[in-house]
Amino acid sequence: MALANDIPLSSLAPNTAGRYRPARAQAQAGIILSVPATLLLVALVIGPAILVFFLSFTNASLGLAGIQFIGVANYTRMLTDPGFAQSLRNTALYVAVVVPTAIGWGLLVAVLIARSRFAVLYRTAYFLPVAASLVALATAWEAILHPSLGFANTLLQLLGASPVRFLSDPATAIYALAAIGVWQLVGFNMILFLAGLSTIPEELYEAATIDGADRGLKRFLLVTWPMLAPVTVFVTVMTIIRAFSVFETVAVLTQGGPMKSTSVVLYTFYEEGFRFFRVGYASAISVSFFVFVTFLSLVQMRVSERRARWKANGGQ
């Protein structure tokens, strides 16, 4: 019979000191490779963020010397400031329109495109706004939405409707901006969804076909939607963040007007910080902004977490 085990020699095995440690070589490299990013992260993101947090408890004002600690005065002022309340409302309106529309439309387009023969053509069309210079195109939008001469109103009048003063009417301005926001985000979300769709194994659709979910909503609900869960989380968080950070169109087209109807949080922050130099107050706004966006993203991630869990588990 074969000898099962050779005889151990380990009794005289002494030092483990000279042992080569793969882990140590990696640890060294890990530190070296991550040092620049770490330093910059601290210097440019985390450090300033902490500073902003402290500034929010002061009356700091750009250009004027002397900073005083004023407790939560900035925050109480924020709570009572009708201008800020208005900008919160505007932002909420903007986000409430942009996020579901840009995601839903992007998803719809992606799903329809994925199986279309003209996919490249459609994809290109929808991708155009993503690649364009927003400031330039915002100007085109402004002309199209001109209260009386623009294409949109000419068309409305041709159709017998009365003209709409899109960007000049406080009742519609934020929605007009939201429409431009949606216009710009749909293609972006579409691309992300397309990427997600392309990772769904064709076999899964075939299995669904045989199982009786061979088209339309049935198939969408059985395969596409659940399989897109991780992408959807990503898209949603990205869209929320981008919707909350709307700035360019406001700055270019309305400067927050008419009657502050488009002054969104970030624009208010910009005005307070860089036009009126109230650094302390602006800091308080940005801290609240951060808390709010973080909270919303976390809620969104949590809600989607269950849907996405299989993926995190490395589902096949």
Binding site: E206, A207, A208, A213, M227, Q316
Partner: protein, 382 residues
């Protein structure tokens, strides 16, 4: 359960410029287990997908139980498909995966909704019935303990069982399986193949099974259909296929691990000289055909070096294979052969030993270069 017969009639399929399938005709009896066997890319999956309706044939027809399927949507063909990658719904539990085909068929979209669905009177009953059937199926496949898990929390073998369960649960009349064992490891593959055989025996559903592993095909099938390059070369029971391959491709493919081959430029007077002896190839007699003489390792024997009529060879390698061993030998002029002998005997052999190789001419085949094979018949000794 009633099984259906399946007629595949002159199926042809092109992808672009390539003929992937050419005039495939195959009749599968009700309850029969037929394997599609062939090398990678030969068109096995394509044929299976055409039968399922997942792909459209450019030509030909598929009929099941006398009914033409060409205009029938996949879900209405009353067949089930098991995929190589299992294709389980990753977000559904094992229970829901197995239930999916029933739910999709038997509940309306409204009834599928979690809360509202529960309020609809008919739905409750139907849902119970579905649960009952899922339970039956999972019992059969020993999946009861796993019903709440997600596919990601299962081993490969368990996933395969779930895939089988999903296919079986609505008691289809025909099973289509595309390399369902390919992703399992050796031991599990053999185990699961036993399970598939058992299930087939119990359910007697007509089954078409795709594989490129000849051992698997032989072990499972009533008949094996061998496909090469989109053409059906031979359909036969495993034992017949083993004994009578119709051409060299088939012989090679079915001779894993090894087939001995000897190119024959032109038989001298219908005979072939090997090791000083002449093998008469009866069917090639007088025709002067060129071709290949082929024989399996198990039909070669190793004798003494100077055994009369034996080909002098030298042992180059011995591979153990359980009770037997494969002995690789070099003949003169660079020809190489493999003989399968008992492990017992192989123990006495060493690399470099000089021996004599004899061929069981009764079992050797001659494949002319053009046309199908003729059995090589022996004349005198070999």
């Amino acid at each position: 359960m009633a099984a259906l017969d399946l007629h595949i009639d002159d199926i042809g399929k092109r992808f672009g410029a390539i003929d992937v399938l050419r005039g495939i005709c195959l009749r599968v009896a009700a309850g029969e287990f037929v394997t599609l066997l062939g090398p990678s890319g030969c068109g096995k999956s394509t044929l299976l997908r055409i039968i399922a309706g997942l792909e459209r044939a450019d030509q030909g027809h598929v009929r099941a139980g006398g009914r033409g399927l060409d205009a029938v949507a996949p879900k209405d063909r009353d067949l089930a498909f098991v995929f190589q990658s299992y294709a389980l719904y990753p977000h559904l539990s094992v229970h829901d995966n197995i239930a999916a085909p029933l739910v999709m068929r038997e509940l309306s979209s409204l009834e599928r909704l979690p809360v509202i669905g529960a309020l609809l009177p008919g739905a409750i009953q139907r849902k119970r019935s579905i649960q009952e059937r899922v339970r039956q199926t999972s019992g059969l496949l020993k999946l009861d303990a796993l019903l709440e898990r997600r596919p990601s929390a299962l081993s490969g073998g368990q996933r395969q069982r779930v895939a089988l369960g999903r296919a079986m649960v609505r008691k289809p009349k025909i099973f289509l399986m595309d390399e369902p064992l390919a992703n399992l490891d050796a031991a599990l593959r053999i185990h699961t193949r036993g399970e598939i055989a058992r299930l087939h025996k119990e359910m007697e559903t007509t089954t078409i099974f795709v594989t490129h592993d000849q051992a698997e095909a032989a072990a499972l099938s009533d008949r094996v259909a061998v496909i090469f390059g989109g053409e059906l070369r031979q359909v036969a029971a495993p034992a017949d296929l083993y004994r009578e391959p119709v051409d060299l491709d088939v012989a090679r493919f079915l001779a894993q691990p090894f087939l001995n081959e000897l190119a024959v430029a032109a038989p001298i007077g219908g005979g072939l000289m090997i090791g000083g002896s002449r093998i008469i190839i009866r069917d090639a007699l007088g025709s002067g055909l060129a071709g290949t003489l082929a024989f399996r390792p198990e039909h070669a024997t190793l004798a003494e070096k100077d055994h009369p009529g034996a080909l002098p060879v030298r042992v180059t390698r011995i591979e153990h294979a359980g009770i037997d061993a494969h002995v690789f030998v070099d003949a003169e002029a660079g020809a190489q052969f493999v003989a399968r002998i008992s492990a017992e005997r192989a123990r006495s052999l060493r690399d470099g030993d000089n021996l004599g190789l004899t061929i069981d001419a009764e079992r050797a085949w001659f494949f002319p270069s053009n046309g199908s094979r003729q059995r090589g018949d022996h004349s005198g000794t070999v």
